[in-house]
């Protein structure tokens, strides 16, 4: 069920997983994603909390440390696989786009 849910990743899911290639505390993920994307992608705290819970349940991330309520996470192999699948999907999209020419659309 969880795999089906994450068959494709949204932008926010993608960048959360990408940011967790280094161990990060949950609250720091928002700042890291903003940094990675130059402020283009903003993740709300409610969305972050729910996505981290979902990734944990799907074993795409793992809790690495807990100091009180301050919990840190890191991506797992399953998470890396999801990132890779998504990257390949986007590459396919891009390749298709380029193969069919650019700027050829009707106005």
């Amino acid at each position: 069920m969880a795999r089906e849910k994450f068959q494709t990743l949204t932008e926010q899911m993608f960048y959360i997983l990408l940011s967790l290639r280094e161990e990060l505390c949950g609250a720091d993920v928002m700042a890291r994603v903003a940094e990675l994307t130059g402020g283009r992608v903003m993740i709300g705290p409610g969305t972050l909390y729910n996505l981290l819970e979902s990734f944990l349940n799907a074993e795409m991330i793992v809790e690495t440390a807990a100091e009180g309520r301050r919990r840190s996470y890191r991506i797992t192999t399953a998470g890396e696989q999801a990132l890779l699948t998504e990257a390949n999907r986007m590459e396919t999209l891009l390749a298709d786009y380029r193969r069919h020419g650019t700027g050829g659309g009707r106005a």
């Binding site: 928002m30 709300g44 705290p45 409610g46 969305t47 909390y49 996505l51 979902s54 309520r69």
Partner: protein, 461 residues
Amino acid sequence: MRETKRTMMWYEFYQDANIEEHLENMAFNGWRLEKIGFLWRYRRAEPARVRYSVTYFSESSEFNPSPTENEETLREYCAAAGWDFVAAWHQMLIFSTSREDAPPIETEGAVKLEAIHRAMKKNFLPSGFVILALFGFNLAMQLRLAGRNLPSFLSDGVQLGAALMMLLLVFHFVSILCSYFLWYRDAKRSVEQGGPCPKRRSRFARARQTFLLAAAVSVVLFMYIPAAVRVGRGTLETLLFLLCGYGFMGVVIQLVRGWLKRRGVSAWTNRIVSIGLAFVLGAGIMGGSVFYTLRIHKNVQSGGAETEVYATRYGTERELRRDPLPLKIEDLQPIEELPWSYELTEHWSPLALLREGWQVEYEGLESLDYEIFDVKTDLLYRACLRDYLKTEELGGQCRLEYSAADEEQWGANAAYRLSIDGEEMDTWLLCRNRRIVKITFDWTPTPAQMALTGEKLLAGA
């Protein structure tokens, strides 16, 4: 100058957009939300443009002694994003920020929708369905009574008022549940297409709440209370007892729940104690109302009219009443000097008036029994006449039916006579304008007695 202000929250639990707008307007006018309960408490502050965000978290509960670990984690994430926690109410969490750059708390439609629906399934939806089932069952019982005896139902303001109250409550819960599921369907469609999770906003929420409140107050003021006063003081006392009783119950449960929370008692223990307390107090209030209902019947029988107690030769005691009956047996024929009781009972509602007259003597049990039913509209008159005329099967053996009789003898517009298994009885229905009289004699009346009966009982119709 007041430093705090308490107001009712008009919006439903799930109308996050309306609540956010309301709180932002309050802050702009110098009132910041401080605490949520039965009333929402605001504290005076410098007027400012403050952003509010309402979010829902399934683990939050009114019974939790303190926020759960996960709720604390969510609050920390919100704080890191620039949102300050303001207040919590059931599964609703409210945050505010003065920062322009703070991102919305929810930034992904599908995730937001899932979180909201999970929180709604925790409390709002199950409790909504349970309450709807209870009120719906109560309404169905009331309508069943109406189906059995429509004139009696329509002329009992207390019962009609209770049925209307149930109808209003059923309407309220059906509308909020439908509204939620319609929103959920649209939101699901939107996020499945990659769109946002739409905010829940109802332009008619306040109008609907105002209408419901006004309708409920009108039912109480113009139907329940006048009817209760007409029946007797006992009924009004019962109403007040029920209102005060349930109000008291609500306050006690709130206080106990708060006290247990402060003592750090677990959510489950607190929930069980609160529900147990509700059952015990609810049963006590119901028991009390039954006690008062019995008093009502006693009051109705005594009626405040002149009464005396009579011991029959069978060794039983009977109350003899002297109510002013519009028609007495002695108006029609001479009677023996026996201890007669004259009993008149009135049932009133804004829609109908039912007067039940009964003259009886308890030695030979000779009697005259009639009811005079006046209804306000032609539509209801026709429905009630159908109800009076409907054929009944008693125990599958006796067939009771009315057939048309000579109305001119009674001075009526229409008359019907009862027969049981084809045998004519001395029970008639007399109709004139919007009045229906049902009368049962112990003898077959003469034409002169019929004319006099019609003159007395149909007068003023």
